[in-house]
Amino acid sequence: MTGGAIAITQRAASRRRRLLIENVQAYLFLLPAFVVLLVFKIFPALYAIYISFFKWDIVQGAFRGIENYTDILFGSRAENWWRSVSTTITFALITVPFEIALALVIAYLLFQKIRGRAVYRTIYYLPYITATVAAAAVFEYLYHPQYGILNTILSSVGLGPLRFLQEPTGIFEMIGNRFGADVPAWAAGPSLSLVSVAIFSIWHFLGFQIVIFLGGLGNIPVEYYEAARLDGANPRQVFTRITLPLLTPQIFFVFTIASIGVLRAFNEIFVLTNGGPLDTSRTVSMLVFRTFFQQGQIGFGSAMGVLLTLLILAFTLVQFRVLERRVQYG
């Protein structure tokens, strides 16, 4: 063995040592965050899974294996569970697409060089930073059956009054009834109450999405627009051929965030309808809350929580699989 080889081994060893120290340092820096995550997120999540295998009615009872899950999915709890899953998905379907379309349009308008742009941007962002509960309380009064401004407007054009948050009837059924048509139960549509909550939800989260879209719009190089204009593209073509494709990363992001947000929405529903009327706005998170906290059925509640997590996970995975392929990065 030559001296040179020894030197190389020594250098390698010292490099390894340095690497080790660096690694240890890195993990030390990660430790505080990791401990917080472990204590407040990971452990509780795992513990909820543990609880979900037991009959846990106020106090821990017998081990039930997956029976809590089978009861929820196929047994005694199935009716309520699937109903709230369906309500949750309906809520997502009426909220997310409108939210994104509206945010996109408003962001596009706010991106134009208009007078008072900064003021408008602030105004549109305000709902998002308003406390959900306070804003929801205000909406309760907009929707008020007697004194609400919405009913005042509706009656001035000869419609209404509507019960809004107190109305369990499906919106298609209501429209049908107005024209004297008999709408079958399966086509009744989401209750006006759920739609009213969705409208609040759209209003409340719009600002956040507008900001994301504004960021995305700012990232699109001006040269593309100039080139398009030189080639004689009209504004519509510019929007559909340049703006929209180049915004797909933001649209995808907003779609994912909004879907997750809506699937686990709680505060606004709790304040506006508390799951009623006739359970037509009892989404899964409302059902979990009721089972867990109001009925003290901790085992069932935890199992429902786990299922909700899986539901959101599945939803997000599908989004990634189906939509990410269509995203164009730059």
Binding site: A48, D57, Q295
Partner: protein, 440 residues
Amino acid sequence: MRKLGVLFAITMLIAACGGSAAPSGSQGPAATTEADLDITGPVTITLWHALTSDPQKGALEAAVKKFNETNGKGITVQAVVQGNYTQLYQKTLGAIQAGALPELAHAYESFVADYTKADVVIDLDPYVNSKKNGLDQASKDDIYKPYFDTNRFAQYGNKLLSFPFTKSLALMYTNEDVLKAAGVAVPKTWQEWEQAVQKATKKDANGKTTQYGYAGTSDASYFNAMVLSRGGKIMSDDNKTVAWDGKEGLETLQMLKRLYDGGYAYTPTNFDWQNDFAQNKLAFTFASTSSRPFIAAAMKTPVAWNVAAPPGGKTVMFGANVAIFKSTPQKQLASWLFIKWFSEQDNTADWATKSYYMPVRKSAANNEALKTYWSSKDPQGKQAYDTIGASIPEPNVRGQQDIRDVITNMYVSVMTGKATPEQAIKDAGTKANQILKDAQ
């Protein structure tokens, strides 16, 4: 994921101490002997409660201060507010799992039923009946019987597991000015009441209601109160089936349905009925006696109004109680002595003048300060007090919370035209009986 994270975090807190058992029963009461002890040294006990705002919060703190200063046994009570009733319930459930309960907690009957399932609540009978520390016969007779009834739990051997604390009643609020303007007398039967509601309603030229006769929430208690006042019952005698689904319940639903359909009644949003009522835009509603101060505060000009049991004279008892958790014999006794002190004639009377809650004793009406307070500031308080004897506790069986939801849904489905009264009450009764069966 944040919401779920919070849920899990709470789960974890609840489960923090490994879960299974509540504080062990080893210190539980060997009844008579423990209730007959003396307080041998300074004892500090904690009371968790849900009185989040004044005047109730301040009134309780003042009472606690007075007890601490005057009990002469070295007992110190610490009153700690734990948020509203739902939060209090959640925290207490968490404390059960963690083995970190306070000595005393403010609780509704349904909470006590749940806590007892975890075997953490002490039986108060030995304390009440203790020759040394209990209530004498005169006191037992002085405290309204329904207040004892509501704290006896049939499903737990009819034990007295909590004690009346922040009591109120479900009563009918009548705006006499509105009735007078409509030219109707105060109704004495439900039939007269229905007519009075109709006559007190005002409509504009288009038939749109501008002033309603009745504001009714879908809260199960008011339906129950109406059933009781018609002579019906809420539960069967053996507590195995509900009884509100009979003739009286059906008549109640049918009557309300007529009022809603005719544009004479509406479902209020939160507490907006209080403004309507205080501004002569509403004739009748049903509400807790604790709404009195809010009505008074909402009045811009003086209004003649009263509270009373609905036609028929029976109604539902409201309000929460206080339970003692298993701890040490000294602390349990100290807790009981505080509760007992709180229910003494002058103290319960003082409480009534400051908190708007009902006093628990008949003799409180002899208290000069309370008499003056009623006559000068709160005549409706006296009216409410006079109906305590006619109040009936709602069932405290497990499953009752779910049954309340069933009643609410029945009510909403009838009033919004989703079901006929006949069909709705039949379905609701079947559902409720199934809940009772499952909760056995």
